[in-house]
């Protein structure tokens, strides 16, 4: 077993063989999900709490479904509505939850590093479902699985990530994962949406779509996060679409068999043309959603195995001291 992590906080701390282990298991779950095979025994008796400090429909649903397919007792907590409003700190919330003895904690938080902080205060396995602009590891893993299934491999591919990279945790996790698996990563964005110093991450930086998309195998579009556009990062949606929106003309610069990805939710007509998103020969956007459930099942399965092993070892130790 090569997956030893206690939590899944980010791609940064995963080793390539851990990523491969997780993707192999997720691949199996994806196939078995299509066959409607049940796995209710895997997380039976374990409690999964989904704690979302930030609105989410699809990620939360995906984690919920993954947990239920594996037989966990799943509880959803919408955190904006509860204690935060009453002034409770994140750590107190964590300690309160910890006292309820959950086994798997799925957390999304608007601040970078918040999930990391929370994980230090609890005994269960923590899965990062997105923290600020920092990481969104299950998204990068589901993207990787989607690519691997479509392209037959996850190395020596040329992948373009396009759009609002500055505010995107999806981009950060993907840059790290694709880099670890030895792919060429290109970032395409207007300079106002490109983080500083990214060229030092071993990626190529482009400000022009046609140049950046030339001969790539994978085109990964990012959502233009309207809610974070308070600083006026781009002049207007229509100018953005004209220069950075993915349409047939720009996609023609990529390889003929290049696939198109989007983490959703999409803004049709802002970052992606509707007909491309719906083109079953190019778009793997629906596959991404499907792989999302499988990847989250695999992640929770592996973390639960480690959790049980750790608890078993502690139990042994306790017995040892009693003798």
């Amino acid at each position: 077993m090569t997956f030893r992590a206690q939590h899944l906080l980010g791609i940064e701390h995963l080793r390539p063989e851990e990523i491969t282990t997780l993707l192999d298991l997720a691949d199996r779950y994806a196939n078995e999900n299509r066959q409607r095979r049940s796995h209710k025994d895997v997380l039976a008796g374990l409690t999964q709490i989904n704690m979302f400090f930030e609105n989410s429909t699809r990620t939360q649903a995906s984690f919920e479904l993954a947990g239920k397919r594996l037989g966990a007792d799943v509880m959803n907590m919408a955190m904006q509505a509860s204690s935060i409003k009453k002034g409770e700190t994140l750590i107190d919330t964590a300690l309160t939850l910890n006292a309820m003895h959950p086994d798997l904690l799925v957390v999304r938080h608007p601040n970078s590093g918040a999930v990391d902080l929370l994980s230090q205060k609890v005994n269960c396995a923590v899965l990062n479902a997105g923290d600020g602009r920092h990481e969104h590891p299950t998204q990068a893993l589901l993207d990787a699985l989607t690519i691997r299934r479509a392209k037959g491999r996850l190395h020596r591919l040329s992948v373009a990530i396009c759009g609002d990279i500055l505010h995107s945790r999806v981009a950060r996790s993907n840059i790290m994962l694709l880099g670890k698996m030895e792919n060429r990563v290109r970032l395409i964005a207007p300079p106002t949406l490109m983080p500083a110093g990214v060229s030092e991450f071993g990626v190529e930086v482009f400000h022009d779509m046609q140049e950046g998309l030339r001969d790539v195998d994978v085109v990964m579009m990012l959502r233009l996060q309207k809610e974070r556009m308070d600083g006026g990062f781009v002049p207007s949606e229509r100018e953005y679409y004209h220069r950075y929106g993915l349409d047939a003309e720009k996609l023609a610069f990529a390889k003929d068999d290049a696939i198109v990805m989007h983490p959703g939710p999409m803004n049709r007509g802002v970052e992606i043309d509707g007909t491309i998103a719906d083109d079953i020969n190019r778009s793997v956007i629906q596959t991404q959603v499907e792989m999302g459930v499988a990847v989250r099942m695999a992640a929770m399965d592996l973390l639960a195995r480690n959790l049980r092993a750790r608890r078993g070892a502690e139990l042994q130790k306790d017995k040892g001291t009693m003798v």
Binding site: E12, T89, D116, L117, H134, E135, G197
Partner: protein
């Protein structure tokens, strides 16, 4: 008449920039004489320094004592103990308390509390604008009469240029020292890290280091207009240094300081969102750190300070963006500064020029020197003694130090304020 004779000492003299062995004679709270030959006869206490360093006590500009308002974070008592243990004999306190020190009445409260409780000298600063809101200047004259040694809104920038220009003009007429925090306020709004690879990797809101130069450029222009006496609290970036150099060359009455944290740590020390490393301004790149060390050595940057900012555990145990900023530094200023000495970047006299002499000169104090007639504010320290810092052992009420668990060298053996021992075994 009380006398102390220090013998067998390594005298660190920042005026002569010398580091020689000798003796120093203290009479009635003042330095009476020093030399390198046979020490004079004395009926008073003789302290054999055993070859350890005797230096003028540190004068730390910009210390936050959380009185009034947040005495659970730091009081004059705890700050005084921490200062004495750290070799700081004078603390120059910030006005960013609750309430703000912006009237002679609050200043008098602070002065009284300090006199009652602090082991070391306390010189209070007052706010430059009422409530530190940047709209109206404070009663600079009355506050000066009440004992304010400088005027500063602390880490808040007076963003209305017209308000600052009038305050500087008025301060000039009273020969009052104004201390500013240089930062373009709009560009740096919401930022908690310096723009670059690290902030991008961690997904933290960042600000270009250029914001510091923009703030400095504005204030230098205002100094040209008003002729005021001005000190920059912390200058931390390479790009701001040429502007400072030009301003000094043009004869403006400007000096600059830097915090020890910006000289000994860089942006990567934040690592996995360690909030004890969250500072204002944020930690900089390694290139900036090295450039600022050079500037301190050359004397372009005048003053080295701790920017002692106590924060309780609750305000630090939060996600990085929401956590409070600042670090305690009174007890770690000297050992951290000695890292620069051990790395061969600054000599001991150069360090004490920045720690003691220059702050005394800037504030017009007679201390900070080993000269005859100067107050006997002295520290005796072993620059080589190794230790591992344990934050729980700090004397400050708040334990928010970035040096917890760090290997350091340099221990204070004794501290004297006006000839009276305030730290170390007698």
């Amino acid at each position: 008449m009380t006398e102390i004779l220090f013998t067998n000492a390594r005298l660190i003299d920042p005026v002569a920039i010398s580091d020689v062995s000798g003796w120093l004679h203290v009479k009635d709270g003042s330095i009476a004489a020093s030399g390198d030959g046979t020490p004079p006869e004395t009926k008073g206490t003789v302290i054999d320094c055993g070859g350890k360093c005797l230096a003028p006590g540190i004068i730390d500009i910009g210390v936050k004592v959380s009185e009034p308002g947040e005495r659970h974070k730091e009081s004059f008592h705890s700050a005084g103990l921490a200062a004495a243990a750290g070799g700081v004999t004078t603390i120059v306190t910030r006005a960013d308390t609750l309430p703000v020190i912006d009237t002679p009445e609050t200043l008098e409260f602070v002065a009284r509390r300090a006199a009652e409780d602090s082991a070391v000298n306390v010189l209070p600063m007052a706010a430059l604008t009422k409530g530190r809101e940047g709209n109206e200047m404070t009663e600079i004259g009355f506050l000066q009469d009440a004992g304010a040694v400088a005027f500063s809104d602390g880490l808040r920038v007076v963003s209305k240029t017209k308000v600052l220009s009038r305050a500087l003009t008025y301060a000039r007429s009273l020969d009052a020292l104004v201390i500013g925090h240089v930062q373009e306020p709009q560009l740096s709004e919401g930022a908690v890290a310096t723009k670059g690879k690290f902030a991008s990797l961690r997904g933290l809101p960042d600000v270009s280091p250029m914001a510091e130069r923009m703030g400095l450029d504005r204030d230098i222009s205002l100094l040209e207009m008003t002729g005021a006496k001005y000190h920059v609290d912390q200058l931390t970036t390479a790009r701001a240094l040429p502007a400072l150099e030009r301003a000094k060359r043009n004869g403006l009455d400007i000096t600059a300081g830097v915090s020890i944290h910006h000289l000994t740590l860089n942006e990567f020390d934040v690592a996995d969102y360690r909030t004890f490393f969250k500072l204002t301004p944020p930690l900089r790149s390694e290139d900036d750190r090295l450039a600022v060390i050079d500037a301190l050595r050359s004397g372009l940057i005048d003053i080295l300070c701790s920017m002692h900012t106590p924060q309780d555990e609750e305000s630090k145990r939060l996600p990085f963006e929401e956590a409070a900023s600042g670090a305690v530094g009174l007890e770690t200023l000297l050992p951290a500064a000695l890292r620069l000495y051990h790395e061969g970047q600054l000599t001991l006299p150069e360090l004490f020029r920045a720690l003691s002499l220059n702050p005394a000169r800037r504030l017009g104090l007679p201390s900070g020197r080993l000269l005859e007639g100067a107050p006997a504010d002295l520290i005796l320290f072993d620059p080589d003694a190794p230790f591992i810092l344990d934050r729980a052992a700090l004397r400050s009420k708040s334990k928010n130090t970035p040096f917890d668990g760090a290997r350091m060298q340099g221990k204070v053996v004794g501290t004297w304020v006006k000839g009276a021992r305030v730290f170390g075994e007698t």
